[in-house]
């Protein structure tokens, strides 16, 4: 079971290395978006604006990075996977790969934000933790949305339509949570509560993906 998940994961990573253009494409996307923000803002933004811009960019990066994960698989290849692995293993492989991809992209966009727009965080390490937690959650949701949109043979627009309302509550929690790193005072236990809630949502998404993906898989 684990071997197969690992094999699928390895396949995705190998594909990523062999088709470097998509990988660099996303990095370029991040860089140009942040550069655009840098140019369009008169001076480096205050913490609130910085925070909301950061999360909106994260959202769009995730849509672009994760969207292709199912759209790139053509029919013949899906049939091949169908014959060699179970749906649960397949979706687990995809989820894990996308989480890693998104965490990497999150780290890059965080660095670029620091370079171009300054660092308004008080506790940078804490903010990094929140970013990684958020990146995980967003990528999990969009992996499943990508699987659904691929079935509808649609472009990335459908992913956005399907995913944005679903991710909104989580994003609101994350934006609220990241204010902790901007030295906003929370009452006792509130941060643990928010982190716990976000983590719980992630677990929920994984469980739902495992339960629901088999139905998307058969054609």
């Amino acid at each position: 079971m684990n071997d197969q998940v690992l094999a699928l994961l390895k396949k995705d990573i190998l594909l990523e290395f062999r088709q470097k253009h998509t990988f660099y494409g996303i990095i370029l996307y991040i860089a140009s978006t942040i550069f655009l923000i840098y140019l369009s803002l008169p001076e480096s933004p205050d913490a609130q604006v910085w925070n909301s811009l950061f999360w909106v960019i994260q959202l769009f990066v995730c849509v672009n990075a994760v969207a292709k994960s199912f759209l790139q698989e053509n029919k013949g290849r899906m049939l091949y996977f169908y014959s060699i692995s179970s749906p649960v293993q397949f979706i687990l492989g995809k989820l894990i790969f996308n989480v890693f991809l998104m965490l990497f992209m999150s780290a890059i966009s965080l660095v670029l934000f620091f370079v171009f727009l300054g660092n308004p965080t008080i506790n940078t390490l804490q903010f990094l933790g929140i970013v990684l937690l958020g990146g995980t959650g967003i990528s999990l949701v969009f992996t499943l949305m990508s699987a659904i949109a691929a079935k509808a043979q649609q472009n990335a627009a459908l992913i956005a339509i399907l995913g944005f309302p679903v991710i909104l509550p989580q994003l609101m929690l994350l934006i609220k949570l990241s204010k902790a790193a901007f030295a906003e005072v929370f009452r006792d236990g509130a941060i643990t509560q928010l982190v716990g809630l976000t983590a719980l949502m992630d677990v929920l998404v994984v469980v739902l993906a495992i339960v629901l993906f088999p139905y998307l898989w058969k054609d």
């Binding site: 949701v141 659904i148 459908l158 679903v166 909104l168 609101m172 998404v205 739902l208």
Partner: protein, 233 residues
């Protein structure tokens, strides 16, 4: 006929009772709220109705994935559609209430009203079901449409409900029942609502919800007749 349709008659009677008793009976005189407190029998019931209809839609989506009976897909879609209608009505009744309480008497800015966690929750719900109908529209294959939209319905429901039940309780809100105010769970807490109002409020919830189910069953019957040739019993 009466035996089979008793709930439709019950719905009618309860709504007649809601409207007459709701508008005529005495209500507590509270500052700011005044007589608008009667909107409780309409506004809050719409949200109850919406949630119950979405829950029914969710149950039918699960049922569809269990036996792939096309009927269940028709059920799930129509309950979701009527749920959306109730959501929109909830907004409209809410607008009336906002206008005379938060905006005029409490002098809240429109911005703070629009950022209400409960308004956002309801907006998310409507967006999700809007996306559900867009998704349905993008298929030509009926079986595939039913299956994929059932998956989305289940997933979206499971993501939506924790957020609209939990988030308004941990962030500040103008609605009753927010943290910081001394009231507990709005509408369901014994100490929050006057006994006399309870006598109208609970029947009103049942009446409005039954009306929603009634509308949905009519829509379902039309759909089933339209698709008669593809449903084989």
């Amino acid at each position: 006929m009466v035996y089979k349709n008793w709930w439709k008659i019950l719905s009618f009677l309860l709504l007649v009772y809601t409207i007459t008793a709701g508008l005529l009976l005495d209500v507590p005189k509270l500052p700011i709220l005044n007589e608008t407190i009667r909107n409780l029998y309409f506004h809050v019931c719409m949200w109850f109705g919406m949630m119950i209809l979405f829950i029914i839609s969710f149950v039918y989506s699960v049922k569809y994935l269990k036996d792939f009976n096309y009927r269940h897909d028709v059920y799930a879609t129509n309950f979701a559609a009527v749920g959306c209608l109730f959501g929109i009505l909830g907004y409209l009744t809410g607008v009336l209430w906002v206008n005379v309480t938060w905006l005029t008497d409490q002098r809240q800015s429109l911005g703070s009203v629009l950022k209400e966690p409960k308004l956002i929750g309801a907006a998310i719900a409507l967006l999700i079901y809007g996306a559900y109908f867009v998704l349905r529209g993008s298929f030509t294959d009926i079986d595939k449409r039913a299956r994929v939209s059932a998956v989305y319905n289940i997933f979206a429901f499971a993501m939506l409900f924790p957020s609209i039940w939990i988030i308004p309780r941990i962030v500040g809100s103008l609605h009753p029942g927010a943290p910081g105010s001394d009231s507990g769970n709005p509408a369901l807490d014994r100490k929050d609502l006057d006994g006399a109002m309870r006598m109208v409020f609970y029947p009103a919830i049942i009446g409005w919800t039954l009306l929603g189910v009634w509308i949905a069953t009519l829509k379902i019957r039309i759909d089933l007749i339209k698709n008669k040739n593809i449903i084989n019993e």
